[in-house]
Symmetry: C2
Subunit: 413 residues, 2 copies
């Protein structure tokens, strides 16, 4: 039985980012940039006004104050989106809108609140100004030719704003992994069926599908394989075109557990089977024709634990992401945790933040078949191999798998 750390190393050793494809900006959120983006023009493209006001010469208003305003002649109006009609000479000003290019000869903008427009076409300026005041300089955001977004950047709303500001409507991004999902077991019925005696619903197929989507990958829902080699083989043939295969169930030691046999028979290079983790020990991992194939345990909680530790980093790496692991936080344990110290234990917990302190409550009912215990949980308390657990009040490592704890009912400024 290998350690969790070794299993991660062995798996990721096999995994490379997928190829890139051209994507439209509107469908690129949470994908990873597959090329470095250079700006073709500076931003701002020209010196422009940071305010609605009057573009003028600072020399003309050196003595201006509320008591002694200076009168200037307004030679034209310059809305944003238009080029200046001409430069100005002494005694002149241009009525200018935020974002409009600064006309030649102007070296500052006075905001409209410090001026008074007069009916004769002139304006009273009630303040002096320093050179460059309220002028945004060309290139102060970035220069032409600058590498503004690097290959490998995760595309968040800010990056989408940047790409649009550059006029980049489509670009290369890493392909989203297509993930084939197969649930195995004669005890399973689909959620649209009526379960007979001895049958339960295929919940893993749906939970895994949601997890795959949450990773930004594309689930391919292949349904249930029966406990026959033929049925499983048929489903595995249907995974052609997928980049990754996930089965759940059928990897324990029993007579009816033959997923690993069929995987091997289909040309899978079995890499390992069984990891020192609880829950989740009977994890099978192999490569089928260069694609990673995970045989997850059938227990819903075990499947989730294994997904978070091994499958999520795999899918993130395939999608070109660099930060692929969930970080752990240190939290104060609110109840004793006692375990058998044979392997790393992941205890479902409810993590919460009080001011800046993290507290974690291990949840009752840690049986790996208890679906309800996942509903209340948002994290795993990590109990390393060899530890017998922790006393209430200990500071422990916690791996959050759901960050909705960072949202609250009230604002807190």
């Amino acid at each position: 039985m290998i350690t969790v750390q070794s299993a991660i190393e062995i798996i990721l050793d096999q995994i490379k980012p997928l190829d890139t494809e051209r994507v439209d900006i509107l469908s690129s959120l949470n994908r990873v940039l597959g090329e470095t983006i250079h700006s073709v023009r500076p931003n701002p493209p020209w010196d422009n006004s940071a305010m609605d006001g009057y573009a003028l010469k600072t020399d003309d208003i050196r003595e201006a104050s509320p008591e002694n305003p200076v009168e200037l002649k307004v030679v034209y109006d310059l809305p944003a989106g238009q080029a200046p009609k001409r430069g100005i000479v002494r005694g002149e000003a241009v009525r200018i809108m935020t974002g409009a290019p600064i006309p030649d000869g102007c070296d500052a903008v006075v905001m409209v609140e410090q001026t008074e427009k007069r009916s004769d076409g002139s304006v009273l300026i009630r303040t002096h100004a320093s050179i460059g005041e309220n002028i945004r300089l060309s290139g102060e955001d970035f220069e032409a030719g600058e590498a503004v977004l690097d290959e490998g950047t995760l595309i968040r709303p800010a990056e989408i704003g940047m790409l649009a500001a550059l006029g980049v409507s489509n670009f290369l991004a890493y392909r989203r992994p297509k993930v084939a999902l197969i649930s195995t077991g004669d005890e399973l019925v689909d959620i649209n069926e009526i379960p007979g005696k001895g049958k339960i619903f295929n919940s893993n197929g749906y939970a895994l599908s949601a997890l795959v989507s949450e990773c930004g990958a594309q689930p391919i829902h292949l349904g249930i394989a029966r406990d026959t080699k033929e049925s499983l083989r048929e489903k595995l043939v249907a995974t052609e075109g997928a980049d990754c295969i996930i089965t759940s169930g059928g990897v324990s030691v029993g007579d009816y557990d033959f997923v690993k046999d069929v995987l091997q028979e289909m040309g899978s290079e079995m890499v390992f089977w069984k990891v020192a983790i609880k829950p989740g020990k009977p994890l099978a991992f192999g490569m089928i024709g260069g694609k990673p194939a995970f045989g997850l345990p059938g227990n819903p909680v075990s499947a989730r634990v294994v997904f978070e530790q091994f499958v999520r980093p795999t899918l993130f790496r395939m999608a070109g992401r660099q930060n692929i692991f969930r970080k752990t936080l240190t939290a104060c344990l609110t109840k004793d945790v006692k375990i058998i110290p044979d392997r790393m234990n992941l205890i479902r917990g409810e993590l919460r933040m009080e001011r800046n302190d993290f507290l974690v409550t291990p949840l009752e009912g840690q049986g790996s078949n208890l679906i309800s215990s996942m509903v209340g949980a948002n994290s795993f308390v990590i109990v390393p191999k060899g530890s017998m657990g922790f006393k209430k009040g200990s500071m422990v490592k916690v791996q959050p798998f759901d960050l909705s704890m960072f949202l609250g009912e009230t604002y807190d400024y």
Copy 2:
């Protein structure tokens, strides 16, 4: 000018969750449950085996040990998914798979690793067992009729697993808000066009579209309205069918800023205009025919600040969510922050976690037109109204708007 807190109260006072609609489980991730879900049968549905092994009577193996195994007659095999053929009597055992129903007369399961199968159809049991060992009791997860998921629950992968386990393939969820997006300004060109002199690309339309998607809402991209009342009116007419309207640009004090005029003329009940926040002061908010309408500033950074403080909570509430605000964290400031104390300031920052301490670095270039400063940022440092800023080393409130900081390049257990 009203405070940020008042603006939030005033806006949310107008906002109710949208109605509910029936959704398929496969498209329900991150939506909010619009009904309470009761279980129709207990889970597990029947007492079942937690292991692959032998179901038997504990009385029969009271004296069993590795040195003195007890021999039992294996009367049949019971795979998961099948009903027991019959109960057992003393001296008998059933070969049972994980998840299979416990046959009548059995009161424990001994795992296969502690047994030895013999060619004559019997099995040697090498351990004693206590009553109930390796048996999962019917209803230990939840009972029939129990309210297992409450109306208002956010649907994460765990909830999808639960719904599938209950056989619930579709259910009521709150409708996703449809959000019409209009960028205003003669200076704007679409990203597929070539900008002439004085023109810039419409970046807000795309960044806002990504933000709306990230909230789980549906953006309706209406493009650019020109700086004429007719053009804006035309775009606003096209927002019919949307649940919320967002414009950007055109809400400052200048002559060409008439968004608020047109909004008013279209029957909008203007609620306020201008909030004591920097950047983001010129925010207009009104209701048009019962729909919230936000007039966001045109500067990309201001638009983002205002979106996070006012629009996100609105869209979350419309989608039925209860936790609608981003929580703040307390972090140690790595550089001085100096500001003019007239309104609440939100300073872009880079928040990171070192062990359990949060550190935040305010970013250079805080001009609200600097798109590049959003790319490096993941949070806002909150400087309350009246404060002149903070010294390096101060503990400050930080509002993260991007949680990818909780992912890392390496595992850390």
